[in-house]
């Protein structure tokens, strides 16, 4: 059997041995010379094409007089293409060999056969980005993460398994569980083990009215969810959340070593972040607070490098940063002034999407006619202290040390509406930062008054939204770069991916008067209100999470390599550092962005 075909790549690695054999016995190999059409739009494709060598581009079926065809994507070694066309029965795009290419062809019939026998493989082929990411996450997602701390399964309390043989009755099992203070038991049936939980016992006896003499192995569930004892504890938590279960069986090789329970996992984690939280809360001086703040950096680094889901990390960091800033506010601003002012954070901090400490974007609102002589001096001290905590100053000087960002509620609302009316780039940028504001300390009511006024003010102002949305479609989304890894191997992910999503969602959210500031939450709300279709929303969220994750990993690496510990190009993604799978996902994610931009252009009439 020729092993020219690499089975290690997802989705083919999802197949079992038998299915892999079936696949490899049905593969053909085809040769295409440069410029030759592999699949033409409208054709019935033979199947899925997997590139052995060469490069193929996918482009829109062009009308005759259109000179330059618009190329969507390049496919390279080991990429596959035409899956969608094969399933549809006809191709909607042209696939052309950009250079001499040799492709394996997996016939549609075999593809369908494999999809019928392997649900995960089918999901990967058919589904959208969100599902793909999930499948990837379950199958060796975290391999290339740096070796960092964070708890392994063995660090948490792994409980000794309570195993009973087949033939033990429900009554006996229950007695044994009570005696051993366990809340689940593993029942052996033949060579297999099945889980019986307290709930299973209750269901069997109370709901199904089975006699107490019933063999427990009859009510056990044999689809055990397992995790290796060397795996990260956090992954056990993710697994439990995904599958909605509370126990995972721990294996060492093929051998069962115990059971880890949700409560154990949660208590382990809470104790960690809890400690830092406590230190922040109890800090009595700025020095103590600074120490706690610096400890936070380490926790974040550890979370990131171990592949904890990016949204959890961002939420945790946002919460912690918020508490640090609030505590500093507490220590800096006199107590009698606190009810009359409100500190807000804006930009990525306000959206709770900051991970590496970028810059502080903050502002202060105060009650109209407030008399506070020391105000500006206090705010300067506040900014300087934050800088000493490791929050770099904002290059645009959007922080409370700048009087422009210290306003009475009346002035603030006036400023916002002025910005909205000018429709000029710089003003709109300031506005974009300001509408992501979130109160962190002081009197929240001041902030809410201003925000609600502004949202009402914008109602039905179509001209504004059209101008505001334009920025989201301004930068081209680069989908053709995959072919030119050699000469153009860097991609500005902020311009190409992150900003269009964040800003587009921000615009939609403003229009719908959604008060959430986090992009993921905004998307959820947009779905709820029926503005965005659920599928699209989920894809957008996954795309954004992917961009942030990829960027972050390279940021950390560059920060560590740089002499001064500063990443000179924070938004660059070096494509050569991505593996095949990541390139695949990145490509899908950029497709999502492209579609979203199209949607925005239509909605806000942004021709061209």
């Amino acid at each position: 059997m020729p092993n020219t075909f690499k089975m290690d790549n997802i989705p083919f690695s999802l197949l079992n041995e038998g299915e892999k054999r079936l696949l490899s016995t049905h593969l053909d190999i085809a040769y295409y010379q440069q410029g030759e059409t592999v699949i033409a739009a409208g054709d019935v494709p033979e199947g899925v094409y997997i590139i052995l060598k060469g490069r193929v581009s996918e482009s829109e079926a062009s009308s005759e007089n259109e000179a330059a065809q618009h190329i969507f994507v390049h496919y390279e070694n080991e990429d596959y293409f035409g899956g969608w066309s094969a399933l549809r029965g006809t191709a909607i795009h042209n696939f052309v060999a950009e250079e001499e290419s040799i492709c394996h062809i997996l016939p549609t019939r075999t593809l369908l056969e494999l999809m019928a026998s392997n649900a995960q493989f089918a999901d990967y082929f058919q589904q959208n980005l969100a599902v793909k990411r999930e499948i990837v996450a379950q199958h060796g997602g975290n391999q290339d993460m740096a070796e960092f701390m964070l708890a392994k399964i063995t660090d948490a309390a792994v409980r000794d398994p309570l195993v009973v043989e087949q033939g033990v009755s429900i009554r006996e099992a229950t007695e044994l569980m009570r005696h051993k203070k366990a809340d689940c038991v593993l029942a052996r049936k033949g060579g297999r083990l099945g889980m019986v939980t307290g709930t299973d016992l209750l269901d069997a006896v109370v709901l199904e009215q089975r006699p107490l003499e019933t063999d427990v192995s009859e009510i056990a569930s044999y689809r055990l969810v397992t995790i290796d004892h060397e795996d990260y504890l956090f992954n056990a938590l993710v697994m439990m959340t995904q599958q909605q279960i509370e126990r995972v069986v721990v294996l060492s090789g093929q051998e069962m070593v115990g059971v880890v329970e949700l409560t154990d996992v949660l208590s382990y984690f809470s104790s960690h972040s809890h400690v830092i939280g406590l230190r922040i809360e109890r800090a009595a001086s700025i020095d103590q607070l600074r120490e706690a703040a610096l400890g936070l950096n380490e926790l974040i680094k550890a979370l990131i490098s171990t592949g904890v889901k990016i949204r959890f990390t961002m939420d945790l960091l946002a919460a912690m940063n918020g508490r640090i800033i609030a505590k500093l506010f507490d220590l800096t601003v006199p107590a009698d002034m606190q009810p009359h002012v409100c500190l807000i954070v804006m930009g990525s901090e306000g959206r709770a999407e900051q991970i590496m400490k970028t810059d502080q974007d903050n502002a202060l609102l105060f009650r109209d006619n407030l008399a506070w002589a020391d105000k500006q001096a206090t705010m300067e001290r506040f900014s300087a202290t934050l800088i000493s905590f490791g929050f770099p100053p904002c290059p645009g000087n959007i922080m409370v040390s700048n009087p422009e960002w210290v306003n009475s509620v009346g002035d603030w609302t006036q400023k916002m509406s002025d910005w909205a009316d000018t429709c000029e780039g710089n003003a709109l940028m300031k506005l974009a930062i300001a509408v992501d504001a979130k109160p962190v300390a002081g009197n929240e009511a001041l902030f809410k008054v201003a925000r609600n006024w502004f949202l009402r003010h914008l109602r039905n102002n179509d001209v504004f939204f059209s101008h505001f949305a334009r920025a989201a479609v301004e930068f081209d989304t680069p989908l053709t770069f995959f072919g030119n890894l050699k000469d153009r191997d860097r991609l500005d992910i902020k311009k190409g991916g992150i900003f269009p999503i964040v800003h587009g969602v921000r615009t939609l959210a403003l229009e719908q008067r959604i008060i959430k500031t986090n992009t993921f939450q905004r998307i959820e709300q947009l779905i709820e209100q029926g503005v965005v279709r659920e599928q699209h929303g989920r894809d957008l969220s996954e795309a954004l999470a992917l961009f942030i994750q990829l960027r972050l990993r390279q940021q950390i690496k560059r920060t560590e390599e740089a002499d001064d510990g500063v990443d000179p190009t924070p938004n660059q993604i070096d494509l050569q550092q991505l593996n095949k799978l990541e390139r695949d996902l990145l490509r899908d994610a950029l497709h999502v962005v492209k579609g979203f931009k199209k949607h925005l252009a239509q909605r806000y009439h942004l021709g061209g």
Partner: protein, 209 residues
Amino acid sequence: MIIPRSIRRLTEKRQHREGPWSELFETYKGDEVVSLDCETTSLDVKQAEILSIGAVRIKGRKVITSERLDLKLKPPKSLSGDSIKIHKIRASDLADGIELDDALEQLLAFIGNRPILGYYVNFDIRVLDKFIRPRYGFGLPNKAIELSHVYHDIIKWKHVGGDVDLRFDTISSKLDIPMLERHTALGDAITVALMYVRLKYGVIPNTSY
């Protein structure tokens, strides 16, 4: 060697026109070619025993690897140290091999009257003939396509003077064809098939030595 073979073929064609294998002798009209490779115990036809046979069909620009022949034979008595070194096939690897009779039957059915392509294909054909003739009364009547000739003709045409390097590895690297499993019969047959398709349909490679 070539002339006697064609004369013999004519005679054999007459003899077998009415026989069960008459189809093999008809002139081939289709567009398929079979790429064939045998691993043998010796490079001398008289002594060579067949260890394995690999073959794939080529249809147009496509190598139909899904329809292929991958035959391992029972170990011959002559399996010696030298050929083990080349092919890394030991007697134990062939323990579950099939009988030669069976293999030849399958091979003839697979090839039919299609042209046979190979790298130094005459050697393979002569070894096969050595075993086919006593059993069937004829040798393989198929047209033979020699890969190195195809390559040579194209290169010579572009490149006047000098000897053309016809080593297998050179050809495959000049044509930028990924080497599949070298020294398994099927792997070599597929590689040769790809080189052939590449020469037939691709751009002529640049051969500045």
